[in-house]
Amino acid sequence: MSDPKMKFLVVDDFSTMRRIVRNLLKELGFSNVDEAEDGVVALQKLEAGDFDFVVTDWNMPNMDGLTLLQRIRQSPSHKHLPVLMITAEAKKENIIAAAQAGASGYIVKPFTAATLSEKLDKIFEKMGKK
């Protein structure tokens, strides 16, 4: 299921974080990556391009990651997109809220390349079963 041509959308308001995630994805063999700085821009890009995977932060201006996730799950055309949250929000209620909203995975910052790889594999595995 993990196709190296998969198109990723990395959503984070900090360009440094987007760059790090992009580099890590490249390291894992995924070089088809686009970026968005908040949920609003992300939704616009999702409408315009054929993305296969969304990696998003939580706390962002204009539209936060949880709202983005909810909007994706409500959208008939995007509701099946895997959404991995990478965020500094570490409260249990955050994790539960994200899971209930339909997040495919949850990574707490700071994180390692190994964690990202492991979570991606887990998500691909689940997608393969469907």
Partner: protein, 289 residues
């Protein structure tokens, strides 16, 4: 309301006093001593009005309490229990207002006197600049490090790739699979590779140095952050003092909890946060996600 306003008095505390009197005398109060003259009423200072108002309220309360205890005494001209109740309630309210007025007055006075609030307000633009500076420095450092890795990584990839190719050829040599011509070519290639390794290593070392140097922001931002934290602490204690003094306990808002709290700075003693990715995974597993 009272009409007599001595225009050349230059002080409107008379007006305030009159306003206060008209309110204070609304419940049936006995005797003229229930409307005392304010003890401090000098026309000089800015806060004399406030002072006068406070004193009037405070002494009103004291007079009321001293002269009329819970049971109406003999000779009291009060009508009955209902009036006494209303009087006590009015006393309570006035007492409350008096105490609050005094607190606000004292707090504002104290703030003005040692100038801490003034200092804090003056420092705010400076703080904004300092925080901007931190954002700038950290962003710069992050970019420098990412640029360095962008340069160094392809160098290392090339060395690793060349080494793998050469290793395969040397394996073949040791397995006696190479001709003399091929061996000569391998020797040439290997010589070239050794030269490239030296150059790549130096270039990579330069980038490692760059990464190291990019950490100099820590020292600079650390100092700036310390200053900002000190200022925030000062502001916090001043404002907290004001709030605690003027907010009655039942009016204090419960702590608000949201879902956007940012990184957990200190997880010690908290059980509502996770501190590792394992805990995240365990939590999700336990919920069946």
């Amino acid at each position: 309301m009272t009409k007599k306003l001595k225009s050349d008095d230059g002080n409107d505390s008379d007006e305030l006093q009159a306003l206060f009197d008209s309110i204070a005398s609304a419940p049936s109060r006995p005797g003229p001593q229930s409307i005392p003259k304010p003890s401090v009423n000098d026309a000089g200072g800015d806060d004399s009005e406030l002072q006068a108002l406070f004193d009037a309220v405070a002494s009103e309360f004291e007079v009321g309490r001293g002269e009329a205890p819970i049971e109406p005494g003999p000779g009291s001209d009060r009508g009955g229990g209902a009036d006494a109740d209303a009087g006590r309630r009015a006393d309570l309210v006035f007492n409350r207002i008096g105490v609050m007025t005094r607190q606000v007055h004292d707090t504002l006075g104290a703030l003005g006197a040692d100038g801490t609030l003034h200092e804090a307000v003056k420092a705010m633009p400076d703080v904004r600049q300092r925080l901007d500076y931190i954002t700038q420095m950290t962003e710069q450092a992050a970019s420098r490090v990412l640029n360095a890795t962008d340069i160094a990584k392809p160098l290392q990839d090339a060395v690793a790739g060349d080494a793998a190719t050469l290793e395969r050829k040397w394996e073949r040599l040791y397995a006696n699979e190479l001709s003399v011509e091929e061996f000569k070519a391998l020797a040439d290639e290997t010589r070239g590779f050794i030269g490239r390794v030296g150059r790549s290593s130096k270039a990579t070392r330069d980038q490692l140095l760059e990464i190291m140097m990019a950490q100099d922001f820590q020292d600079l931002t650390g100092q700036v952050i310390k200053r900002v934290v000190e200022l925030a602490q000062m502001l916090e204690s001043e404002l907290l003092g004001v709030l605690l003094e003027v907010t009655p306990p039942e009016k204090r808002l419960p702590k608000r909890a949201g879902l956007m709290n940012g990184p957990v700075i200190n997880a010690r003693g908290r059980d509502d946060v996770v501190t590792s990715q394992e805990q995240v995974d365990d939590l999700l597993d336990s919920l069946g996600f």
